[in-house]
Assembly symmetry: C2
Homo-oligomer: 253 residues x 2
């Protein structure tokens, strides 16, 4: 089993590109947002007001690239893939953001539900996106976030289809992972939270599921990408959805 450090090195050298779901089980994984210092207060306040979708794990000082929870890492290269947004539009995906970045950028690490997936699978709960080797499906919802300064918008969620008898157990298990989105925000009918078609996720890939499975939705750290796009920042950078930072922090379950 490769360590978080080993995996980050593979990503750094572009020797592996893929979703980090099921990698380094039980190690804390995080979403990443890097944005210019002048937006940092309002964004941190947005996170404080929306702890379910934006649980802040760490904030780096302006210009800092090595998180205290990922020693030796450089957040500009050590994730498998990034997204660059300009003027509110998705611009491009890249494998390294060194050229995109500057000393005035502040980086936010935000909890990710991949952190609790091992705790589910070791209790026998099968995760179809892992079985099918695809990027977990994520959807924009109609659940409003609490605004802060220029930032407002709706929550993004990730979805895992579970067997009916697994749902209660999954709620209990994930509720313990408070800084990795915790318990689900919705269980069942996707239309109730504004999702028309599970086969057309806004991020990630659709998952094949039998009719007897129930879709279970967790708050997702891609929410900031949605919200920052709405605010039409001149520029910001994020991880590519599903391609996370793997930290050195082991999460006890």
């Amino acid at each position: 089993m490769k360590s978080p450090k080993d995996m980050r090195e593979l990503f750094r050298n572009n020797e592996h590109v893929g979703t980090t779901s099921n990698m380094c089980p039980n190690y804390l994984q995080t979403n990443l947002i890097s944005l210019p210092y002048e937006y940092a207060f309002d964004f941190l306040l947005f996170c404080f007001r929306n702890p379910k979708s934006c649980p802040v794990i760490d904030v780096l000082e302006p210009g800092q690239v090595e998180p205290s929870i990922a020693i030796g890492a450089d957040i500009r290269s050590d994730l498998p893939k990034y997204r660059v947004y300009q003027n509110g539009e998705f611009s491009r995906e890249v494998f390294n953001i060194a050229e995109e970045w500057n000393e005035r950028y502040v980086t936010f690490l935000i909890g990710c539900s991949f952190t609790f997936e091992k705790a589910l699978t070791e209790k026998g709960i099968q995760l179809l996106h892992q079985e099918q080797g695809s990027v977990i499906p994520m959807y924009r919802t109609n659940i409003p976030c609490h605004p802060a300064g220029p930032f407002s918008g709706n929550m993004v969620v990730s979805m895992r289809p579970l067997k009916p008898e697994e749902v209660d157990h999954a709620v209990k298990i994930t509720s313990r992972f408070e800084t990795s989105h915790g318990s689900p925000v919705h269980i069942g009918d996707p239309k109730e939270i504004g999702i028309d078609d599970l086969n057309q996720p806004d991020y990630g890939e659709p998952v094949d599921m039998d009719d007897d499975r129930i879709p279970v939705f967790w708050a997702c750290g891609v929410t900031p990408q949605n919200v920052l796009q709405n605010a039409r920042l001149p520029k910001f950078i994020s991880h590519a959805p599903g391609y996370m930072l793997i930290t050195d922090q082991f999460e006890e379950t």
Copy 2:
């Protein structure tokens, strides 16, 4: 019994000036910091990194004066007393900050241990500063905070002398008030946390205590005053230590 709104009105009209300890029992009381927008990110980050001394209850938008947890209030007038700091020095105490304030100020409300005092007294734990009608004593310690940007310094604590048989109970009771500093940070010998003389508090007033009582120390929301002074901001405003904002939020115990 006067409501929080009644008390805020008395303070607004300068019809009462005194410590808010023992006022509106079980209603959430908060520390106040108002500072220029350009320092707001680093200060919010400082609070995030120091949740024990700086538990953020609410942050108002720049220029906002009415907190959502104190309807009808104006934070510029509705506390009994304020402090103005300039260039890192305490400048003066005032009863109203309308003339000190401007639209670029961001206001932070930070939890206060007065919130849990009723939960202690209703279990029969006598609080000497209340009995003696004095402002609770507060001390600068040698316990370092986690720095953020230009902000660093040591924790300030409040002290309540308890009977030995009360200490365990007080720890249990206050640990439930997580956003009001929670359990004590130190119990016993003040020298261990850098306090030379309990009779010379840095804020508030000394309390008379018998030798059989044990000093119990809680993290205190005056910590930011200490830290912001160190950073020598051109100007910031706080509540006067012991003279808090009383909010409409009732805290279940």
